[in-house]
């Protein structure tokens, strides 16, 4: 078996299994912990508080616009760009159709792909540079953050280097970097892609029950 064949065959299925099982294991584990029963008399709806927190924490609120504008701008730039690339790039759609037997869905035109890639790269670099230069963010950063950023950056970079779709080696390099990211994903803060709703909802429900807006 060639290296390309190994990357696009056994290693892909292994990384997919680690990713799926790891994410499920983490989520089930967190939910299984549960929480102590809240014996206080509710003054407002927990569900409304949870919904409010999920929405409000997605935009600057509470007079924090000045302090959060940078993260708001760079964060959305990166995440929207990344999801557009992952879900609507024509080669990715073809890959999903082939691997998961899904029905095809419309792909972005090439110019939109380029803009999405520019946005994702700009957002990621801006966020990482800020993390390294801001004294508070730097103090909160550990190796897990660096690993997550670099693996994501490598996956994006190798994908864009393979844009010409003319060399199997470049495609395999992209797949390898994505597979490393998928294997690392469940055991890192990258899990925030799944847990951010639970975290915001839990905080919102706790405060909402007491009549506060977090």
């Amino acid at each position: 078996m060639t290296i390309v064949g190994f990357i696009e065959g056994p290693l892909w299925y292994f990384s997919l299994a680690v990713f799926v099982l790891g994410v499920v294991w983490r989520l089930v584990g967190m939910l299984a912990i549960g929480r102590p029963k809240d014996l206080s008399v509710p003054t407002a709806s927990s569900a409304a508080g949870a919904a409010k927190a999920v929405v409000l924490h997605s935009v600057p609120h509470g007079g924090n616009l000045g302090r959060t504008l940078y993260h708001f701008f760079a964060g959305y730039l990166f995440h929207i760009g990344l999801f557009a690339l992952v879900l609507f790039a024509a080669p990715h759609i073809a890959f999903f159709n082939k691997m998961f037997f899904t029905l095809p869905w419309p792909a972005m035109p090439r110019w939109a792909f380029i803009i999405a890639a520019e946005a994702a790269f700009a957002g990621l670099i801006l966020l990482y540079v800020r993390r390294l230069t801001d004294p508070v963010s730097r103090g909160l950063t550990d190796i897990d953050d660096h690993m997550g950023v670099w693996l994501t950056f490598l996956a994006m970079l190798t994908g864009c280097l393979a844009l010409q779709e003319a060399h199997a080696g470049l495609r395999a390099l992209h797949m390898l970097s994505v597979e490393l990211l998928m294997i690392y994903f469940p055991f890192s803060r990258l899990m925030h892609a799944f847990t951010f709703l639970f975290a915001r909802g839990y905080t919102g429900a706790t405060y909402g029950r007491r009549g506060f807006t977090p």
Partner: protein, 398 residues
């Protein structure tokens, strides 16, 4: 050897030879042809011929009308053969070599394809561009880059790392804001990605191809081209941001001339400066001017169809390559001084603060104005730097 003439149907009939027995039997007394019969046959053949010719003429007329340009369309210009004077008429029709020589010299003709120089079969300007690009820009540019690396390495070997005189003081002065550092590193990341991919595209054919071989080099070159084209537009934003965030304090002063005459203190002695010395100011303006030249020429190369002609694309290519080489050459010196070449320089761009002794060594006029901000509380200095850089409360730093 005499040619043997083969008998044909015509020759046989002209020779008046006897007809074939089978024909004779068919043209026997019952079917013998008379003079009126022959006349009718000739007339019938004539009518048939006219009918065929008439039909062909109608079809030809229809075919011609189907490709006729619409009413009001301009008449096509004369063809290449009409434009180019046919030489060599004394020897008959145009000679191929003369015709192709004219084409080779860039004579234009007619082409149904519309676009810049679409009617020119061979654009000889490309040869001159290629010679200039390969023999001048790449050759001397390559030597320039190697020369800069050699000079920097030699300086490091001779001078060693420039240490802070008297060692670190343990007192920190805020120097760069968070915005300035973010812009600097944003541009630095893009610069490294673009410089590496650009150098591969420029010199890879001469340096990497013999080492990697054609297939591996094709992969590397393809990746470099895609990456270069992708990161290029982001470099425009970073260059403009650099101009906005660092322009203050980068105007030249008389003290910069004195700094220059003292060699910046690199060869001994002390050269005074404010927040930015002559070298840093020159690096800033160098980055802005060359960065904008790279951005404009880069966009021209990304969208060549929007250029007026091929000469503009060739000019854009030369400007892009030349500006990139000059940019990278200066950057080598900047990166050297910012990292291994000078103790205490890098932290100004990472933490936002510098050691007080470093400030006194290299930016004494700036230090005089800001030494009151020096503190042993590093975290506090970093937070102050992030928020307002070297600006003293109530007034901006110089």
């Amino acid at each position: 050897m005499p040619l043997e003439r083969k008998p044909t149907l015509v020759s046989v009939s002209m020779q008046g030879g006897p007809p074939a027995p089978r024909a004779r039997s068919r043209c026997g007394p019952r079917g013998a042809r008379t003079a009126p019969d022959r006349l009718r046959t000739v007339v019938a053949l004539l009518v048939l011929t006219l009918a065929v010719l008439g039909t062909a003429g109608l079809l030809a007329a229809q075919a011609q009308s189907s490709v006729r340009p619409p009413d009001g369309a301009a008449a096509p210009p004369p063809s290449a053969q009409d434009t180019i004077t046919k030489p060599g008429t004394a020897q008959g029709p145009a000679q191929g070599s003369d015709l192709w020589r004219k084409i080779r010299e860039g004579k234009s003709g007619y082409s149904a394809t519309k676009g810049p120089q679409a009617d020119t079969l061979i654009t000889s300007g490309g040869v001159a561009w290629r010679d200039l690009h390969n023999a001048t820009v790449l050759r001397y540019g390559g030597w320039l880059l190697l020369g800069v690396v050699a000079v920097v390495a030699l300086y490091f070997l001779v001078r060693g790392r420039i240490r802070i005189s008297g060692g670190r003081s343990g007192r920190f002065i805020p120097r760069f804001t968070l915005v300035q550092r973010v812009v600097h590193w944003f541009m630095a990341v893009l610069f490294v990605l673009l410089a590496v991919s650009g150098l591969i595209l420029m010199f890879g054919k001469h340096v990497l191809l013999p080492v990697l071989g054609p297939y591996a080099f094709a992969v590397v070159a393809s990746a470099s081209m895609q990456g270069h084209n992708l990161f290029g537009p982001l470099f425009v934003a970073s260059t403009l941001a650099l101009l906005v965030t660092f322009v203050k304090g980068n105007g030249y002063r008389w003290v910069d001339v004195k700094w220059l005459f003292k060699g910046g203190g690199f060869f001994g002695g002390h050269a005074s400066s404010h927040k930015y010395n002559f070298g840093e100011k020159t690096w800033f303006w160098w980055s802005v001017v060359l960065g904008l030249a790279l951005c404009v020429s880069g966009f021209a190369l990304l969208f060549p169809n929007m250029l007026p002609d091929r000469a503009a694309a060739q000019l854009a290519n030369l400007v892009h390559a030349g500006a990139a080489i000059l940019f990278i050459a200066f950057a080598i010196g900047h990166i050297y001084l910012g990292t291994i070449g000078m103790e205490g320089a890098l932290e100004g761009m990472t933490n936002g603060t510098v050691d007080e002794n470093w400030a006194r060594d290299h930016h004494d006029l700036w230090w005089q104005e800001h030494k009151g901000q020096a503190t042993t509380d590093r975290r506090r200095a970093e937070v102050l730097a992030a928020e307002r850089g070297d600006a003293v409360a109530g007034r901006a730093g110089s």
